[in-house]
């Protein structure tokens, strides 16, 4: 990833470099991640997720030479994805058929994951963590994804989601507390 970022910086600063090649690498690395990020908000609309992922990738390609080295590539790409997503949801809500996240109450959440490797490690802990993560609000899931999977800084997450840093900090704290509580309930 560092390599792509270096090449991207070079392209943005000097205009030199293979745009196609850089984009191919970005596509290989990020297509699935972007789709996953968008699907956290629209899990019931797989076709829309595909479209939005493609739109995001096209935007990335179109603005490759405008990339500002001030930000990391992760932040830049997820910001584009989030803005594309927000635009889409806003447009759909104006039409009247706003895509809704499924009800996220803890009681409804059922984990579909039954991986034998996980069961060997510690099936119960894994299931309860998953159960808890799936019960989270979509915004919290996005934050958890960016923080614990992508390991982004709070400042960057706030930039991507367009929220104040304090809000993001508090939400992360709440997610942690919920997860811990869930595990404590399980094991006392």
């Amino acid at each position: 990833m560092k390599n792509i970022q270096r090449r991207l910086r070079r392209l943005a600063l000097t205009g030199r470099g293979e745009k196609e090649e850089i984009f191919n690498d970005i596509y290989r690395l990020y297509a699935r991640k972007i789709r996953g990020f968008i699907a956290l908000r629209l899990p019931n609309y797989p076709d829309d997720c595909d479209d939005l992922t493609q739109i995001t990738l096209l935007k990335v390609y179109r603005h490759l030479h405008e990339y500002k080295p001030l930000f990391t590539m992760n932040t830049w790409i997820y910001t584009i994805a989030n803005r594309t997503l927000i635009d889409f949801v806003r447009k759909e809500s104006k039409k009247g058929d706003c895509p809704q996240h499924p009800s996220s109450s803890i009681d409804d959440a059922v984990s579909p994951y039954t991986d034998p490797v996980d069961t060997l490690i510690d099936a119960e802990t894994v299931q309860s963590v998953r159960y808890c993560l799936e019960s989270l609000d979509w915004q919290d899931r996005q934050i958890a994804y960016l923080r614990f999977y992508e390991c982004l800084k709070i400042k960057n997450i706030a930039g991507i989601l367009g929220k104040p840093q304090g809000t993001v900090k508090y939400r992360i704290y709440r997610i942690r507390r919920q997860l811990k509580k869930k595990l404590e309930e399980k094991y006392g």
């Binding site: 205009g15 196609e20 984009f23 191919n24 596509y27 297509a31 699935r32 991640k33 789709r35 996953g36 699907a39 797989p46 595909d50 992922t53 493609q54 739109i55 990738l57 096209l58 390609y61 179109r62 030479h65 994951y113 991986d115 996980d118 802990t125 894994v126 963590v129 998953r130 993560l133 958890a144 994804y145 614990f148 999977y149 942690r176 997860l179 811990k180 595990l183």
Partner: protein, 108 residues
């Protein structure tokens, strides 16, 4: 958050991502058709500005000078310009000329 929990969350999301469909690569050629080369665009922009300047300043002047009135006015302006320049130059070179001239006038 303890390491174990962090690991679990990480596994959850990596599992979640592995279940995501790989979206086909977007048709980049559609962007290529409409793309704007920044260097070419800058060149065209400045060429256009130069053309506008030429149109505004030089073409009306040429048309104007082709008329009788225009050519006369131009000649007058030119002559006055020269005269002014000669006087100014003389003043700059030797102001005593004027002083002498004034003194002579006063004496007369």
């Amino acid at each position: 958050m303890d390491k174990r929990l962090k690991k679990e969350v990480y596994w959850y999301f990596s599992d979640y991502l592995s279940k995501q469909k790989m979206v086909p690569k977007p048709p980049v050629y559609s962007v290529e058709v409409g793309k704007r080369d920044p260097l070419l665009f800058t060149f065209i922009k400045y060429s256009f500005s130069v053309c506008v300047i030429l149109l505004v300043f030089f073409i009306p002047r040429t048309f104007f000078l082709n008329t009788d009135l225009g050519s006369n006015v131009y000649r007058l302006l030119k002559m006055e310009g020269y005269q002014y320049r000669i006087e100014a130059g003389a003043k700059r070179l030797n102001p005593n000329l004027f002083i002498e001239k004034f003194q002579n006038e006063e004496v007369e």
